[in-house]
Symmetry: C2
Subunit: 336 residues, 2 copies
């Protein structure tokens, strides 16, 4: 058998502000030999997520990636060699592969992907997996939406936000999305069925929220934090629920970031802010995947992916999550 | 019948920073004649609370006190004249009497006080009423304490905080209180049974919390906001609950106040901050009062009151809530 060569992006430095190419090193090395029970997976698609930026800098819900370690990231791939009868060559799998072409996994690190011809493989990034779990449980378990309530979603054309809004519509909420371009506004209203969209780069957010949320805001699903969270806090209803799913606006910060100035509204409105991380729901994956799959096949939920070609592109592509230039779930195609 | 003279403190100006004498006007006027169904109440004790400062400045859960209106405040008193058979002369009552010696109340504004010789009248301020309700439901319904968890309480020697800590002990928590003098630290540990006390004026709060909360912080009952909230956020456990019951540190602020810099910890620790205001629990008064009364008679709960003599003192006395010089629930004795 010819020796396989693995390419990897390793973290070279703690990033300051957005990622720079010098924060990573491109490493080439032979794929190690398998031990009994292990499989060799060829990475096909790599998921890029805002949390990559946090992982590279500080301990979060996972320890920070170490300097010189392969950059952490989730992937989908296929078993190329196997010394484990449970996972024969050709099995489709997902897991934390890292930013590399090949990964050797032990038995307990392998998660087999169900194969359904009606569901494209990219759905495992854009609809299922951590994206779908995040939207499903973040909205339903933490946001506790009721029919007739008003739901506001930030990064509404993003992978999580676009699902949150669609699930909100299924539940019977009025759904208003915030996003950063007219094209995205059109996509979430015309294609996804949001009731209204606000382009936060060109519109006055406070005024637009007043217009589109005439009965106030009951639930805010937030991926951003910062000024928009502050503006929303100024318009929440009594007993509002704010799902804090991400704080994109501050992952690149180089100075301490204050919390919202309208913090006092939590008290005045007896409202709740609650942090949510999908890792706490991994043992409830089945329920969410079954529902999301059914809604997808019924045409009630749509998703889109933004595919970048080639692992070499990952360090620059990941910054598109922070300037808003991605259109849908951002993934890197690593191999066929 | 001789004409009765009523003295009142009316709000003269929106306060800037702490209250100044010039923010109020001392008004003398005859008590109006009663209409059918009304009673005349002589105010005996007036409750001073941090929320007075908020009411004087801005709309909260209640509209701001209008300029030239009698300052809002809760009181306990006795019916002196009655044109309502349900409330004969001599009935002990409580309600929103305002900062004045006499108040005319309509039937629906009268709340009769139960009279129990084993319970002193000041208990209706220090233990029952809004103080007791706030501590009871704020801790139990919003904080959701479980035996073995660690509860931290700010303004721990204050009216609400001292009850919260004692209820926390009854539930089986480790209880650590923050307060502003060594005398108060001694009172909450030696007399009230808190596990530890921190003098936030003389100790390094972050270090002291680490010492006294070796297993991290599960519940924080906060009346203060500001730096201490930030410090606590740096030491919360997964799924921590923060009960936001007050924001004393910012009621006197003259500039916008940022939220906590450790706001991101809510996300990292999947923690919750929830605002709480006792008004939402008025329909559940009976349960709380029955429990608190039983605990008091069993000696499991203590309270103390700090009595200021004379309604004239109210405008200056209320500031003691903000410099921490009160010792227990602050009340003004208006008449015998």
């Amino acid at each position: 058998m010819t020796e396989r060569i693995n390419h990897q992006w390793r973290l070279a430095a703690r990033p300051v502000g957005t990622f720079k190419p010098s924060d990573f090193t491109w490493v080439e090395q032979p794929v190690p030999e398998l031990q009994d029970g292990e499989v060799l997976v060829r990475n096909q698609y790599l998921s890029l997520d805002p949390t990559n930026r946090a992982w590279a800098s500080f301990d979060t819900y996972l320890p920070a990636v170490e300097i010189n370690e392969v950059m952490r990231g989730g992937g989908i791939g296929v078993v190329e060699e196997s010394r484990n009868d449970k996972f024969p060559v050709g099995t489709h799998v997902q897991g934390m592969f890292g930013w590399q072409e090949y990964v050797v996994l032990k038995s307990k690190e392998v998660q087999v992907l169900p194969v359904n011809p009606a569901i494209p493989i990219t759905a495992y990034f854009g609809l299922f997996g951590h994206i779908g779990l995040t939207a499903y449980y973040g909205l339903l378990d933490i946001g506790l939406p009721k029919a007739g309530e008003t739901l506001v979603v930030s990064t509404a054309a993003g992978a999580v936000g676009s699902l949150v809004g669609q699930i909100g519509k299924i539940v019977g909420c009025r759904v208003v999305g915030l996003t950063g371009s007219d094209e995205k506004c059109e996509w979430i209203t015309k294609t996804l069925g949001f009731d209204a969209a606000i382009n936060y780069k060109t519109e006055k957010v406070a005024k637009a929220l007043k217009t589109h949320c005439p009965n106030g805001i009951d639930i805010y699903f937030d991926n951003v934090g910062g000024e928009i969270l502050d503006t929303v806090l100024g318009q929440i209803n009594l007993k509002a629920r704010i799902v804090l799913c991400g704080l994109i606006s501050q992952y690149n910060a180089t100075e301490p970031v204050p919390g919202p100035y309208n913090f006092v509204q939590l008290l005045m409105k007896r409202a709740r802010i609650e942090g949510f991380i999908v890792l706490d729901y991994l043992n409830r994956t089945d329920e969410a995947m079954a529902k999301l799959g059914a809604w997808f096949l019924e045409g009630k939920i749509k998703y889109r992916v933004d595919v970048v070609e080639g692992l070499e592109q990952a360090p620059l592509a990941v910054n598109r999550l922070f300037d808003g230039s991605n259109q849908g779930k951002l993934i890197v195609k690593v191999s066929e």
